[in-house]
Amino acid sequence: MNLSDSKKKLAIAGIICGLIAAVLAKMGNPANMAMCIACFVRDTAGALKLHSAAAVQYARPEVIGIVIGAFAISLATKEYRSTAGSSPMIRFILGMIIMIGSLAFLGCPLRMVLRMSAGDLNAWVALIGFAAGVATGAFFLKKGFSLGRAHETNFASGTILPILMAGIFVLSVCTTLLAASEKGAGPGALHAPIAVSLIAGLLFGAVAQKSRMCFAGSIRDIILVRSFDLISVIAGLFVVMLVFNIATGGFHLSFTGQPVAHSAHLWNILGMYAVGFAAVLAGGCPLRQLVLAGQGSSDGAVTVLGLFVGAAVSHNFGLAGAAAAAATADKPATAGGVSTAGQVAVIICIAACFLIALTNKRKGTK
């Protein structure tokens, strides 16, 4: 069945992705984090010891599966195109910005939608920032922003990231080289069984590739061409997770008491503003970057490398947001939020987005 030739079928693609997320939530992934590209890349970066935050180290098979799933389906359907050369270093920086902004908020756009479906009002607040960031990026697209065109390159070039991802998976299963959070240490220790995670990632990647699922692109297309195609995929995902959360008692409409979240509204908004802005400049949200990398784009792969380094920077320098926590026998309650260093980093990220947007124009644009 072609999942992409009508809004209804696109919504079905979103429903399939929602069902995959529901299975992962049921099988042990962290609460409201059934699938989060930023969190899972951050966990994988921790497993590779790019950072040493003990609570978030685990080679997530979902991320690996998404890249390989997109690679396999694009090969099978002749959509694999090995391309490269569209301002790779700027894309690397945009990848870092996307990750730093996401970790200030504690989630990528995908997790933002999952949190919204669980009644987390902090995520609804962050949506304001994300949409505003996408709108700002769209404004600069209209003004002629461009990172230049990509060119066809050798077939092998586009296979590098899928191969590296497969290598990480082999290392995680066959050796003890990679770090893994110990039980009770934090979100990194909570996960579905490896086989379930891998299969879920492969399916998610394949469906995302066929449907062109993109959280930033869905809002960008509404702004630029009044097209609601991509948002129908997101709507399908949202509805499934909303039903799942209500049915399983996971829906709590509130700002407080939400898992892995904080209520520093300004920084939730600004963090996701940076993510939305950078994602439009880079041509897609974190999920889309994984999928583009899988279908042969070395520019997408460089952006993914930026995500990994951004995760390492966030945790090595204390930029990531801290989740609010209820009081326990040993510790008092904490409000969580974003550290001063994290706040400065988010501001720098936004300034960098403006600088990139203003200094990269299509040739011939005045």
Partner: protein, 78 residues
């Protein structure tokens, strides 16, 4: 709901080219509109220019004049 018909779809290397196309077509009063690239012809999540098949020559000549390069030309149901 708009009825699908066979139309000309022009794809571009960059979104900026698509945006420039929209601007130039407006200025030169050339028919058509921006659409998301149809999934049947490309794996990109970019934008394309959609117009009637009869406008093909006008569009190509205008693109040549204003220096907009197309990636490909397609005829498909949109």
């Amino acid at each position: 709901m708009r009825k699908k018909e066979l139309r000309l779809v022009v794809t571009f290397h960059t979104t900026a080219d698509a945006m420039a196309m929209e601007k130039e077509c407006k200025e030169n009063q050339v028919n058509g509109r921006l659409i998301p690239v149809p999934r049947s012809i490309s794996a990109g999540c970019g934008l394309a220019w959609c117009a009637g098949l009869e406008d093909k020559d006008t569009i190509l000549s205008m693109m040549d004049q204003v220096g907009i390069e197309h990636e490909d030309l397609h005829e498909c149901m949109v």
